[in-house]
Symmetry: C2
Subunit: 364 residues, 2 copies
């Protein structure tokens, strides 16, 4: 008997609403990161679903995404029932996103109040999916038995200033591997990140596992105004005017992350450590590292010719030729070519902002 | 009365047979540098003809080029009579090129033996064409009066190791500005180039001005085997079998430059200094300098967006975006993108050689 079968009920909500431009010019408004095979064989949202399929039926996997990307996202997930797409009229950050999913599940037949829900980002990469599933099931079990809001904290392999951290506290009694959360902390500077690493902090990867009833109670207590708005949307879900209510109520919800709005405030957060080859693939440099780049070797995808160059990440559709260069990201697409120093991806936003300002939204 | 009118007869032969790949991916087999507007408003061969038109009629300007590029070259020079294209079946370096032109002129009605011929490369850039014409006419006058084989030696503005040098000797008696050539020297190293600069050496720009009879005598003396082959071609020119004779004889001619085969050997070479904003536009870096690049500024052509970058030369057809990079050449064409360190253009050949070896001749 598998551990999954010991659970009364499990649902996954995949947050696929990302709009980032960190993979420009590959990623576009209509083709954000989660819809691309960034550092993977299949589009990331597809891989995220694939990881869950060994223990979750398609009807038990929900996809939250922007209404404008519904068609593109659904095309990648043909087995997902149309009803399982939770479409946001606008992006209102993760508290509203998760809250809307809770309403959908709450008003759905056959979803008991103690159903365990796993909220998972759509655009991360995991190299050891079996380990991931094991960890997720452990979190689900603890969430169900103890009524805790569980997170999966990634075991860091370096002192990265790019992630928020979780400080584990006392062990959860009787639940081997789970510890209470002492606190969530913001992205640190490098020195602080080093200290966190020594002190056993974990990375916050935005993965949360909880019972439906427990999280609804947390919303009611810590985000009461939002909970009221969500309740109005929830009440409309099986009525004809539901589209109008969503259109009216959802944009009014506070724009606040679930980390800040819920996780940092609750006193029943717990964490299980995750060590399954996770990366959020934050940008081109992460893709370089993921591809085995080590500062000397080049990582190339597609049609790329390299002469005496090192430390480059390059993707060519027609042909990209590198001669005597180092530490660059070079991405060729049908209508744009990016040439960027590999450590300067923070400045990519300047570029995309300027393109927008110059009326070149067609390139974004 | 202009100086030109003092000359009995002047013809120009423009050597447009270049096949270089130093402007890859912009230059291609079928579109070599001289057919492109490299650092200029019009294709270089067109600009070369334009420079001569103030004192030469189209019938007096001859174009030497490979048979495979005849159509493309002629399309740029609609006023040039078809008879004025001297087509080489294969490239056999500049001695054979000039020699073939001599035969054409020799066998043409209305070209006296003392006609002065100016041999000029098709792919150089000259920013002060009036000064150039003045210098060319001076060389022609001396060549005609004194029976000297004249070169135009460029007054260097820096100790470049990229050019051969000419050491001027004693003044030519009675010809103000002209000096005998003491010797031609190969491309020097930088230290030697510095010494050459101090000692008043000039750059060899491959521009030669001479009387038809004088140069024919030089061929007979210094390249007698070639002269005999050329004579067989010449004798066939007004006969039906001329194409067959050219096809048979021309490929057998020695592959030797006119500098080595003739100029270094004759004792009647002289030089006039040229100071008319000349550059051979030797590669992308030269184009960067020509565009006002100074190591800090970027030079961009077409659709290029730059964020915090310096010292780059970039050409974009669709869009090239530079972020945080320096000292690069980035060239985007319809089917290839080159990203090269600006000081590494010597390695471009490695790349094009490899493309050829890999069966990607379509990109060359």
């Amino acid at each position: 008997m598998s551990k999954a079968q010991q659970l009364p009920s499990l649902r996954a909500v995949i947050m696929a609403g990302g709009k980032g431009r960190r993979f420009w010019p590959k990623s576009r408004e209509k083709k954000p990161k989660q819809l691309l095979p960034i550092g993977a064989h299949e589009p990331l949202v597809r891989e995220t679903v694939n990881r869950l399929r060994p223990f979750l039926a398609p009807e038990h996997i929900f996809i939250s995404c922007g209404r404008d990307l519904a068609r593109e996202t659904a095309a990648l997930l043909p087995e997902t029932p149309a009803d399982n797409f939770i479409l946001e009229p606008v992006g209102r950050d993760t508290s509203a996103c998760v809250g809307l999913a809770l309403e959908h599940l709450q008003h759905r037949a056959g979803v008991p109040a103690d159903t365990v829900i796993a909220v998972l980002p759509a655009d991360h990469s995991i190299s050891r999916p079996a380990r991931f599933r094991q960890t997720l099931l452990l979190a689900a079990k603890v969430a169900h038995r103890r009524g805790l809001i569980m997170t999966i904290g990634i075991v860091p392999d370096r002192p990265s200033p790019a992630y928020g951290y979780i400080q584990p506290g006392a062990p959860v009694t009787g639940e081997r591997g789970a510890r209470q959360v002492r606190r969530f902390v913001e992205k640190p500077d490098l020195a602080t990140a080093r200290r966190y690493l020594r002190q056993g902090f974990l990375w916050n990867a935005g993965m949360f596992v909880f019972r439906l009833d427990v999280m609804r109670a947390a919303y009611a207590r810590h985000l009461p105004v939002m909970a009221a708005g969500l309740a109005r949307i929830g009440a409309s879900l099986d009525r004809p005017g539901r589209a109008r209510v969503l259109e009216r109520e959802f944009p009014k919800l506070d724009k606040v992350s679930i980390d800040y709005g819920i996780m940092e405030k609750v006193d029943n957060a717990a964490v299980v450590p995750g060590d399954f080859g996770w990366t959020d693939v934050g940008g081109w440099d992460a893709l370089y590292c993921l591809g085995g780049g080590d500062g000397e070797a080049n990582v190339t995808v597609g049609a790329v010719e390299v002469v005496d160059s090192r430390g480059c990440y390059a993707e060519g559709e027609r042909l990209v030729a590198l001669v005597g260069v180092s530490d660059l990201v070079v991405i060729e697409t049908a209508d744009a070519v990016l040439v960027m120093r590999r450590d300067r991806e923070a400045d990519l936003k300047q570029l995309t902002d300027r393109l927008l300002k110059k009326g070149r939204g067609d390139l974004l």
